[in-house]
Symmetry: C2
């Protein structure tokens, strides 16, 4: 099934305890689209870049088979740039500089050919823009939405309005606590669903993820990684693996939604093993399947 990805397209400078990488591919739409491209086709991207966006980046996205009709290029503008530094424990990062550039006035325009896309994955952009995307598409089968603490803090009401339009809402543990005001994650989840979220996924980093779907809870393990090289894009690739597995299989049963959470975790685990999108460059569906099975082995027990 088709998948539509909307989010930021950026050029990043990343510093980690292991080194630094300048002018590398970044942005939620890029991470999501590249990760999704291993599952299904077509993957349709909507985003905006400036005239400075590197031709090699376009070439890479083309090689991954990503449909770029929705990638607006503003020749006279500059691409969104983010520069950040991760600390020793990799759980916190400082934004060293942020230049929205052409992204500041991003107004997602969904090309005619994209409007019947069945599966939609919305990166963590302004909830008002997420809603604008949904106004332009025709009854998709599944809408998955991501967010971040910035929108919870600055556009709470808009986020709540948008959240109720998502079929699945993804956020991390600290965002869930922030949004709900509840320290206990189960209470937080209940509260957020009362606030309008349907299926809810709370990511817990090195502790895995919790899925709240229908009246069931599913606890997914984290892949055991001794070294996380670069956490950038982990959340985006999680959303990608989740959405793209469902798009590939077109099966929204509880059993398959659980699998989708594991595919999300799988893609995030590949992503953080290398800098920028490098962890997603030389993957194959076979490698992804192998790691999915490692997840299964990690948490399986019999009576």
């Amino acid at each position: 099934m088709s998948i539509l990805v909307v989010g930021s397209v950026a050029i990043d400078d990343i510093e980690t305890p292991f080194g630094r990488a300048d002018n590398v591919l970044g942005g939620s739409a890029v991470y999501i689209a590249v990760a999704s491209s291993y599952f299904t086709t077509p993957v349709r991207l909507v985003g905006v870049v400036g005239g400075d966006y590197p031709p090699q980046a376009i070439e890479f996205l083309n090689e991954r088979g990503i449909d770029l009709e929705g990638l607006e290029v503003i020749k006279e503008g500059r691409t969104f740039r983010w520069s950040g530094r991760y600390h020793y424990d990799l759980n916190n990062r400082d934004t060293l500089s942020l230049n929205l550039n052409v992204f500041e006035k991003f107004d997602p325009k969904i090309p005619e050919s994209y409007r019947k896309t069945r599966y939609i994955c919305l990166g963590n952009i302004d909830p008002v823009l997420q809603r604008r995307v949904l106004e332009q598409v025709e009854r998709p089968r599944l809408v998955v939405g991501d967010t971040m603490n910035f929108w919870i803090e600055t556009k709470r009401d808009e986020l709540l309005k948008t959240m109720s339009l998502f079929d699945a809402f993804i956020l991390n543990d600290s965002e869930a606590r922030l949004l709900s005001g509840e320290p206990n994650l189960l209470k937080a989840a209940r509260r957020i669903r009362e606030m309008g979220a349907k299926t809810l996924i709370i990511k817990k980093g090195e502790h895995g993820a919790l899925l709240f779907h229908e009246d069931q809870i599913f606890s997914a393990p984290a892949y055991p990684l001794e070294d996380i090289f670069d956490p950038t894009g982990a959340g985006d690739t999680f959303a990608a693996g989740f959405t793209a597995w469902l798009a590939k299989t077109d099966d929204l049963s509880h059993e398959n939604v659980k699998r989708a959470v594991i595919y999300g975790s799988t893609m995030a685990s590949f992503c953080v093993e290398k800098v920028s999108v490098d962890g997603l460059r030389d993957l194959s569906y076979l490698k992804i399947q192998d790691r999915f099975r490692e997840f299964k082995e990690l948490s399986r027990f019999d009576e």
Copy 2:
């Protein structure tokens, strides 16, 4: 199979955000013995109390079928008393008062009839005393040892010496980081095993537990609890469920050790639902099995 439990026997005063309970049963040996009594027989307890230890407590332990030959009663002394307060998030507690009383000079004496016990569960007492227990028993099949940050900080060398005598060593995530000096739990586990631990279990509270056994890692989920009434004894009952399941089945295969971790988590989940040992009073093996199956449902997914 028989199980020998050595640890503290205490009277606790507990304050939680939900209320307070005074003069209630406490101590690692009591929690471990009571939880174990639902799995196997005989459960043999070694500990020390004063003349003030309530007859109803003895009666309760007798009702649970626990062999108290090893419970030393020092008539002219007073029982170990602990008073603590849990905060809102229940992850931290303040010790309000601590009177070791007869426990201060506790020197575990293993009765002749206990010496051939096959399974041994050592509560978090001084590692020197844990070793003294092991000197008095005849080749047990499995020794499980617990510890706490106090011993890591004050008796590190003794702990390392004792740890290498355990077949399975249980500690929580902050203790694992403290002992190893590694923030990453996988690195911490590797380091602790290099320091001499064999099978290692790292408990992560609301995030479940990790088992490092042979060359395998197993990730156990946490039971979803919206309200934890009283966390006292969670670690002890985890150790109990783990050891007692292995004692009951006498099977140390990897598959069965994984099950034992889930039985540990199961017993801890019952324990924290009520104050003191109340969560362990009206259990049955059937209820324990039902919750074990809930754990399975919580983390199960198929390819």
